[in-house]
């Protein structure tokens, strides 16, 4: 089969005017982390506001001996911007049908996994059960299939979620700005889209087919979401897919330039790294150990002290707990990553395995034990005021 050009938009994919793509990619192409020295790291640690070059230094191997200093400063900044708050949420997978062939992903359309999609009634039951744990923020996820999980379906799920939750995020396939606007009107305010890797050659080699193969359409998703009046956007690379220092740098630059262009946008980072998944054993990855992952989290915090950082359930409880209040400000709890599964049997297999199965109550008490404050609500939506009903 002829491979398509990953820079070519498909029909119906909106193209926006933006210089963010060029800015980020040119910064990344000239990023040579081996050139940074001890003094660059010290200099960055001294500053109140870091520039991209300081951020680059903190991600470099030269910063490894300074992890403790970075952590101390990061803790102070996290406390300054977020106090002792830790925001809690949980994901709900409503469909795992997917049209993409991404070689690292459990939802890969070529994988023979159990596929499923929740009916609106099932979504309602799941949402109700989740809300009984006390959570007020939900992240609705789907695989990438405009056919099996279309915008209207997702919109209906959001409207249902609005009756139980005050904050709704979506982690679905990238949309055009009008579609984001539609889902915003349904009640969603936060959008997560992860670029996976910012190295186009690598991107092309791991996204073999499907709409996700179109690199710039995915790249511009956050901007389109903000054009569609979303309140906040999340950034992340799948660390370990390619050179993680470069991808972490690119992620930071992406967030940086989007923030500069949309100063009112709320910015968050997630730091997924490759974990084992169904039908596909871990292979040929750039190793991102916990120390490296922690370094990246700290660099994000020092570079953008106001950004929310989510610590994934892919990480072990021990690691997650130690990042709280030091750099991470948000965590999921009571997580199920199969389709459905909070009430009945899961209807579809999971995308990846989780390493922290603790319930909301367990996470809640752990946070309190650390002297931190679990936060359930932190947002009032401007749209779909139905959500007030849950307050």
């Amino acid at each position: 089969m002829m491979k398509t050009n990953p820079m070519t938009y498909l029909a119906n994919m909106e193209q926006i005017e933006s210089d963010v793509f060029e800015k980020v990619l040119s910064r990344v192409s000239s990023y040579d982390y081996t050139q940074y020295k001890d003094c660059d790291v010290k200099c960055a640690l001294l500053k109140d506001t870091l520039n991209p070059d300081d951020f680059a230094a903190l991600l470099s191997p030269a910063a490894k001996p300074y992890l403790e200093e970075m952590a101390q400063k990061s803790k102070a900044l996290t406390h300054k911007h977020f106090g002792n708050s830790i925001q809690l949420f949980t994901p709900l997978y409503i469909s795992n049908y997917c049209e993409n062939n991404c070689i690292y992903c459990g939802f890969n359309c070529k994988n023979k996994i159990k596929r499923g999609k929740l009916s609106l009634e099932e979504i309602n039951t799941e949402l109700k059960t989740i809300s009984e744990t006390g959570l007020k923020e939900i992240l609705i996820l789907t695989g990438e299939s405009r056919q099996k999980s279309d915008i209207q379906y997702i919109g209906e799920a959001i409207k249902l979620a609005k009756t139980y939750f005050s904050t709704i995020g979506i982690e679905i396939y990238p949309l055009n700005s009008e579609e984001y606007s539609y889902l915003n009107n349904c009640g969603a305010d936060f959008v997560s889209v992860y670029q996976e890797t910012y190295n186009l050659v690598k991107y092309e080699s791991v996204h073999l087919s499907g709409p996700k193969r179109v690199f710039p359409y995915r790249f511009h998703a956050q901007e389109r979401a903000l054009m569609g009046h979303m309140y906040g956007v999340s950034f992340g690379a799948l660390l370990g897919l390619d050179d993680f220092r470069k991808d972490a740098f690119a992620t930071g630059m992406h967030a940086y330039f989007v923030q500069r262009k949309y100063p009112s946008a709320e910015i968050s980072f997630s730091l997924p790294r490759i974990r084992p998944y169904i039908n596909h054993e871990e292979k040929e990855i750039n190793d991102v150990d916990e120390g490296a992952l922690f370094q990246v989290m700290l660099a994000y915090r020092l570079f953008m002290p106001y950004a929310s950082i989510t610590i994934s359930t892919r990480e072990k409880a021990h690691f997650r707990d130690h990042t709280l209040g030091v750099c991470a400000t948000k965590m999921s709890a009571g997580v199920v990553v199969g389709v459905g599964g909070h009430v009945a049997e899961i209807k579809g297999d999971e995308q990846f395995e989780i390493s922290d199965p603790r319930s909301v109550a367990e996470i809640h008490s752990m946070i309190l034990q650390k002297g931190l404050q679990p936060v359930y609500t932190n947002h009032i939506t401007s749209k779909g005021l139905v959500g007030w009903g849950v307050w």
Partner: protein
Amino acid sequence: MRDRLIIGGHDFGSRFILGSGKFSLDMTETVIQNGGVEMATIAVRRANKNGEENIIDYMPKGITLLPNTSGARSAEEAVRIARLARELGCGNFIKVEVIRDSKYLMPDNYETLRATEILAKEGFIVMPYMHPDLNVARDLVSSGAAAVMPLGAPIGSNKGLLTKAFIEMLIDEIELPIIVDAGIGKPSQACEAMEIGCAAVMANTAIATARNVALMATAFKLAIESGRAAYLAGLGRVLDRCGEASSPLTGFLGENL
């Protein structure tokens, strides 16, 4: 290494912009020479074309004139003054200042923004004088300003960088030259402004009120150059407490659980 100040496509070797309204006109040339100044403001309202003591006549050849709109109380008045400056042959640079408070002489950001938008469209190289407000600075950028000139302290007060924290935000966020205008009273304050990353410093009162005006111009030149060099060199670290031997926040890494 060539380190040039670029404003509206014009480049300058000096980062000392001189305000000219407060010392005797016959000192102008000496101050400009001692300060290494390449750009100086003139108040259009002081231009007395073909008349006595015309400030423009005192400006040495080769200096870039930065006419200002002082006296303007609204955007419309500022625009009119700017057009007059162009008529007078003062070039395309214009420092927009709109002040409708005669007691504290605080710039009116809203009117300044309106004037900037109009003048930029007319092809002026607009350098607005403003109270350091990040949102307004962003709007000035999108209105076509060529630089942003926040005040360091009330004009003429010689109080230094009272607005430092807010000017630092502009330096971090705005991709145009940030030029501190107003309030700088001593060379050390000019130096500090340059150290934190301002692209240039504008001063007038500090020099005009010195006992030795000519010598103070030299002092400012040196301070501004010194601050710029320090900024380019990257400030060294400050130790504010002793190092800690243990690793309380990273010790968990590598713990095998």
